[in-house]
């Protein structure tokens, strides 16, 4: 009997030993590892990202992550600066700027990173000439010349390469006929002179915006055939000339940049390495921010701020905005009828502007903001952001939460409560499904509040979540009557894609809203050579949208990012979290070796 009881004990002992061995092998490492990395950490910035970069090639990179990383590797023609007091973008060359530089103000940038010394706009606004500096070198030692820009623009414009930035070439000579005539549109009389020719007068700010795409080293890329451009192995070994160079890229894990010693553009502070790590899970990103394993986590949810700050006082929450808003879309036209006949008639429920205004009055936007976003949300009136102060109309009074007024307006429109409490008109019940994409807590929360609000005034609203791809396809093919979605606006105001009356051309006019005045105003605004002169048009534009409520604009969202306090000099604004990342420095940790 003794033996029987001994055997399992032996097994247990073995098991215990195994476990201990595993623990020991595991524990012996961290000590060495942490010591080693403590000094390395003082010169290394770690940024958490949701997904990997696609291409570290400015011509075809399409994600924001790719653009952020490419921006550190490649040089730029101009530096751009966002002026928070006006909401205008400023462009800087070494010896010239579009507007006076906002020295000392939040967001001021030094022009030292620009490749252009200066530029001159032709009096007829049909060409722009840049004078480039001659001392900038590609990583392999070859100088950066005007030809590199011309070469890159040919790549941007090549339909086989399918660059997501080909829109930037829309004003170049030849583009009006369908294909840019590069030989005439871009001239390089010598290595430091670069001339762009346009087919129509272009405002200076737009010309600067559209001609400052990132160059590629021609001598590296010229042998690559366009059809092999996306597959080329060179995409894994980008040759840039910016403050950082690519040191390593493990796909789906991390991108490592190291500072570029040969760079004549200003070198970064004391950050020798920047690592972009892929951490797909939100909770884990947050935990890593708390443990200090990463320094920057974008889009931290407001409900997590308290816990993060409590767990690690060395973390601060920084905000950027306002660029993103959510809205409830109402189809203004009867989509079924339009699909069948190609003709337009008002939607039976949402076709009348008065009904849509009533719906906006019925929705308690403040309650959604208080309940979810807190101080990180603001009521949204139209799609022109309050951050773009030069265009924003601050005299508009929001349609406040007023269920009684909403009910009265609906009754005036003929929507009378039926026996079951649901309003009806001509036998049609006010009942619909509100669609949104699955997996967004904020929209989920807002949908439930909206459903409740609408029920109170006798409107039956069901909620359905769809997988993002399915939802987007349904939106595009205009299959939904009501939906909740969001927009992230560009820094240039260009609303025709969303509100243009030609429903076949305006790909994002999901509502079917049509108002010729909106188009006129956009065209008038765009024709002004000074952007500030367009303000009256944009003010009228906002008043029309506010009056017609083609959608119920809900709230602007202040994006919130978690930063480790050891990062110094970071300026965040609407043009991005990593707006001035090459100016950041790291505060050394207290226990670091001297």
């Amino acid at each position: 009997m003794m033996t029987t009881s001994n055997k399992p004990r032996n097994l247990l002992l073995t098991l215990f030993l195994l476990a201990t061995a595993a623990m020991l092998s595991a524990c012996s490492k961290p000590k060495g590892g942490q010591q080693l990395s403590a000094s390395a950490r003082d010169t290394t910035l770690v940024v958490a990202m949701l997904g990997d970069a696609d291409y570290l090639n400015p011509v075809i990179g399409s994600s924001v992550t790719s653009a952020n990383i490419s921006g550190l590797i490649y040089p730029s023609l101009l530096q751009s600066e966002f002026d928070t007091s006006t909401g205008l973008l400023n462009y800087l060359a070494l010896e010239k700027s579009l507007r006076p530089v906002t020295r000392g103000a939040d967001g001021a940038r030094s022009p030292k990173g620009a490749l252009a010394r200066s530029w001159s706009m032709a009096p007829d606004h049909k060409s722009i000439t840049y004078i480039l500096r001659s001392d900038a070198l590609w990583e392999d030692g070859k100088p950066v010349v005007a030809g590199d820009f011309k070469f890159a623009y040919r790549m941007y414009g090549n339909p086989v390469i399918a660059s997501p930035r080909q829109q930037y070439l829309a004003e170049l000579l030849g583009a009006e006929k369908g294909a840019v005539d590069f030989d005439r549109a871009i001239e390089t009389p010598n290595d430091t002179t670069l001339v762009f020719h346009f087919h129509k007068p272009v405002p200076e700010h737009l010309a600067l915006f559209h001609t400052s795409l990132t160059p590629l080293p021609e001598h590296v890329w010229k042998e690559v055939k366009p059809q092999e451009f996306r597959e080329s192995k060179l995409n894994m070994r980008p040759v840039g000339s910016g403050p950082y160079r690519l040191a390593g890229w493990s796909k789906q894990q991390e991108v490592t940049l190291s500072s570029n010693a040969t760079c004549v553009l200003p070198k970064p502070g004391n950050i020798r390495r920047i690592m972009f790590r892929v951490v797909p899970d939100y909770t884990v990103r947050l935990t890593q921010l708390q443990t200090g394993a990463v320094d920057v986590v974008e889009n931290v949810k407001p409900e997590d701020f308290g816990a993060v700050r409590k767990a690690n006082p060395g973390i601060e929450v920084r905000t950027v905005g306002l660029r993103v808003f959510d809205y409830v879309g109402w189809s203004n036209i009867d989509h079924d009828w339009y699909h069948k006949t190609g003709k337009v008639r008002p939607h039976p429920l949402f076709g009348s502007p008065a009904v849509r205004v009533a719906l906006t009055h019925a929705i308690d936007r403040e309650a959604i903001i208080d309940g979810y976003l807190g101080s990180y949300g603001t009521v949204c009136n139209t799609d022109i952001s309050p951050s773009l102060k030069w265009a924003y109309d601050d005299t508009i009074k929001p349609h406040g939460y007023d269920p009684a007024l909403a009910a009265m307006m609906l009754e005036q429109e003929g929507w009378i409560p039926g026996p079951d409490g649901i309003r009806q008109k001509n036998g049609r019940k006010f009942s619909f499904t509100l669609y949104t994409n699955a997996g967004n807590d904020r929209r989920n929360y807002a949908c439930v509040v909206i459903q409740q609000n609408l029920r109170e005034i006798g409107i039956d609203c069901r909620i359905e979540m769809q997988e993002s791809n399915v939802f987007f396809e349904n939106l595009q093919s205009r299959n939904l009557d009501a939906w909740m979605a969001g927009w992230s606006i560009g820094l240039e105001i260009d609303p025709l894609d969303v509100w243009g009356s030609d429903l076949e051309k305006s790909r994002f006019n999901f509502t079917g809203y049509r108002n010729p005045r909106i188009e006129q105003l956009s065209e008038l605004a765009k024709s002004k050579m000074r952007i500030e002169d367009a303000r009256p048009y944009w003010v009228e534009y906002q008043q029309i949208l506010h009056r017609d409520q083609p959608v119920t604009f809900l709230y602007w969202i202040r994006e919130t990012h978690g930063f480790n306090r050891r990062i110094q000099g970071a300026v965040l604004n609407i043009s991005g979290t990593f707006y001035n990342i090459d100016d950041w420095t790291l505060k050394p940790s207290a226990n670091a070796a001297p």
Binding site: A22, G33, L36, T44, Q166, D494, R507
Partner: protein, 322 residues
């Protein structure tokens, strides 16, 4: 036996092929568009069209199928849409080692711990130890993996910072030298492998206990004891071998897991493994990558089943394969 295996392999070819054909059509019927990412304001409407043209998605589906068929018969599964035009097998061969190292460690731990716990429970049936192990095993078995993983992270990475939160290596691990790098990797794998194997071992332990209990009541076990064999020899040599039959099936069916990956663990611990490749490919409507994944996992399921059948015949002489 050899003819049996050969016959099964020959049947497997049209089977896998049928699966691929079905997948080809089903994913194209699903709503969504691989070029959808390029349909956004600020991007020229031409881009999505140019991308579709490049991917060959503008042809009618039967033509697309014929082209695809031709390529596949030449061994070319194409290039990934969503991962920078990498050849799909490059994507898979980058993800496979990560998945396999986790899976192999997990499977070894699963079976070792599962069998040990199962045997102890069976030998000491109804003792306190048995009840304790049974309840504990059930406790872990019924726990959702993703939740368990997050709890382990909070406990052992945040509250007691013993292990890293995620990733495959520490920042700057390249400077540790090959051995240090290896140890760093093991240190990073400790939590995920623990999560996966505690869950798996608990299940296997239940199987082994049940099967072991049946075996130790058999006459030949009494005979073995009667002829004076040590208890150790009785349990390990006579009983365990026979009790292993159902476990062998489990081993065969675990084979696809080695290659398909554990999605939750990969997402939570930020490992670039096969689970994430598969799911991200589906969300991005990356047709070539979805098909290549189906090919890999389909083939392995067929092979895993075949292996389980063969192993049956090897361990149990009563089973004849014809």
């Amino acid at each position: 036996m050899a003819t049996y295996i050969l016959r099964r392999l020959l049947i497997a070819v049209p089977l896998v092929f049928g699966v691929l054909t079905l997948t080809f059509f089903i994913i194209r019927l699903a709503p969504g568009d691989p070029a959808a990412f390029f349909i956004q304001p600020g991007i020229s409407p031409n881009v999505a069209e140019q991308i579709r043209q490049q991917y060959g998605l503008n042809d009618p589906i039967p033509i697309q199928y014929l082209k695809w068929l031709g390529n596949v018969l030449h061994g070319d599964f194409g290039r990934s849409f969503s991962r920078a035009q990498q050849p799909v097998f490059d994507v898979i061969s980058e993800a496979l080692p990560v998945t396999m190292s986790i899976a192999v460690l997990t499977l070894v731990a699963n079976f070792v711990f599962g069998i040990v716990i199962g045997v102890i429970s069976a030998v000491r049936q109804n003792s306190f130890l048995d009840r304790f192990l049974t309840v504990t095993a059930l406790f872990f078995y019924s726990m959702p993996e993703f939740w368990f993983a997050l709890m382990m992270i909070i406990l052992f990475a945040l509250k007691l910072p013993l292990f890293p939160v995620s990733g495959l290596n520490e920042v700057g691990a390249e400077s540790y030298g090959p051995f240090g790098f290896f140890l760093d990797r093991i240190w990073h794998l400790a939590l995920p492998v623990t999560v996966l194997s505690i869950n798996g071992a608990a299940g296997i332990a239940r199987y082994v206990r049940g099967s072991m209990l049946e075996v130790i009541r058999q006459d030949y076990i009494r005979t073995a004891r009667a002829k004076g064999l040590s208890e150790r020899a009785v349990i390990l040599k006579h009983a365990l071998r026979n009790a292993m039959l159902p476990v062998v099936t489990l081993m065969g069916s675990s084979l696809p897991f080695i290659f398909s990956g554990a999605l939750f663990i990969e997402v939570i611990f930020a490992f670039p493994g096969m689970g994430r490749v598969t799911v991200e490919a589906i969300f991005a409507r990356d047709y070539p990558l979805i098909i290549a994944n189906t090919f890999v996992s389909g083939t392995l399921i067929v092979l895993g089943n075949l292996m389980a059948d063969v192993m049956y015949a090897v361990v149990d002489p009563r089973i004849k394969l014809n």
